[in-house]
């Protein structure tokens, strides 16, 4: 039941991550490589979440991996980490976009000013 809760809580974030990158791609704001990369990233997170219960069953009882089941706190902590990954990812994309805008603006202003001032 707890593993179902873990997947259920995180599924909307993963779908949001996938939806976000597909939208960016369709709007031609990112290239195909970045789309593939992001889809892989979110798919890996999804596979890890879905696979956590079977993996736990498989590993339980083996000396090194033997541990207690997920607590409710563990579930919320994992969800919080995935939310943070989503937020960091979004913010970094926005920062990079802003950096690019400032860089391009600086370049354009410098070129245009040199033409206006006729420094030749």
């Amino acid at each position: 039941m707890r593993y179902i809760l873990l997947v259920a809580l995180n599924m909307p974030i993963i779908i949001l991550g996938l939806f976000n990158i597909i939208t960016q791609y369709k709007l031609k704001r990112v290239n195909k490589d970045r789309l593939t990369h992001q889809i892989s990233l979110w798919s890996i997170i999804l596979i890890i979440l879905i696979g956590s219960f079977p993996a736990y069953n498989l590993l339980m009882g083996k000396a090194v991996f033997d541990s207690s089941e997920l607590s409710l706190f563990d579930i919320f902590q994992t969800t919080a980490i995935i939310v943070i990954i989503y937020i960091i990812n979004r913010q970094r994309q926005k920062i990079e976009q802003n950096e690019k805008t400032i860089r391009d603006l600086h370049q354009e202003v410098s070129i245009k000013l040199s033409e206006t001032h006729g420094q030749n």
């Binding site: 490589d33 990233l41 970094r92 600086h106 370049q107 410098s110 070129i111 040199s114 420094q119 030749n120």
Partner: protein, 235 residues
Amino acid sequence: MSKAINVCIVIPAYNEGPVIRHVVENIGATMKQSKLNYTIVVINDGSNDDTAAQAAAGGAKVITHILNSGAGSATATGLSYANQNNFDYAVTMDADDQHLPKDVLAGIKIAQKSATDLLIGSRLLDSNGMSRVKVLGNKGLSFITYALFGINVTDSQSGLRVFSKNALENLRWKTSGYEFCSEMLWRAKQIHLHIAEYPITAVYTEYSKAKGQNNWNAVNIVKSLIRRRLIEVFE
């Protein structure tokens, strides 16, 4: 009759007042003897000295960055200018007088003949005159470029590079400091540009030795490259 090609010589410069005029005049004299149409553009990267005035006195077109933004950013501005003005080739060279004008001409000819998009003038194919410490630093950075980005070149940090029209139109990078040298190669590989190298001679004067990057700066470059590589794992 074949159309004469237009070449833009891009020289990013930061506080190079003492030598920039000589560098511009030197390359200008060599280019004048060739049959190429050329423009020399000095990107004055927010210098505090008279770099802009000296470059203009030498006959260069000067584009001044309002803010000091780094070698990567200054180079990008120069190449953007070359792209906007439809140059067939752009050649970047250092402003500290370490590159020979004959190597610039040789690079343009090789790039034309071999249809190379990004031709790098390698100081390490023949490292005579370069100090052992600099050879070690440059080889180390080239190895790191290979390890991080899978690009095998002997001199990833060389300032003398020839860019084709295709490269001018499509090649962009994100870093603004000296780490752009390695990132640029990575971006070129990503967009499948044809990259090659040719041997050049670097001249080390007391001035260029004093101005050059030391190996501690290489540590900063490596840190920045690793950060950039890791960030893009999540992109």
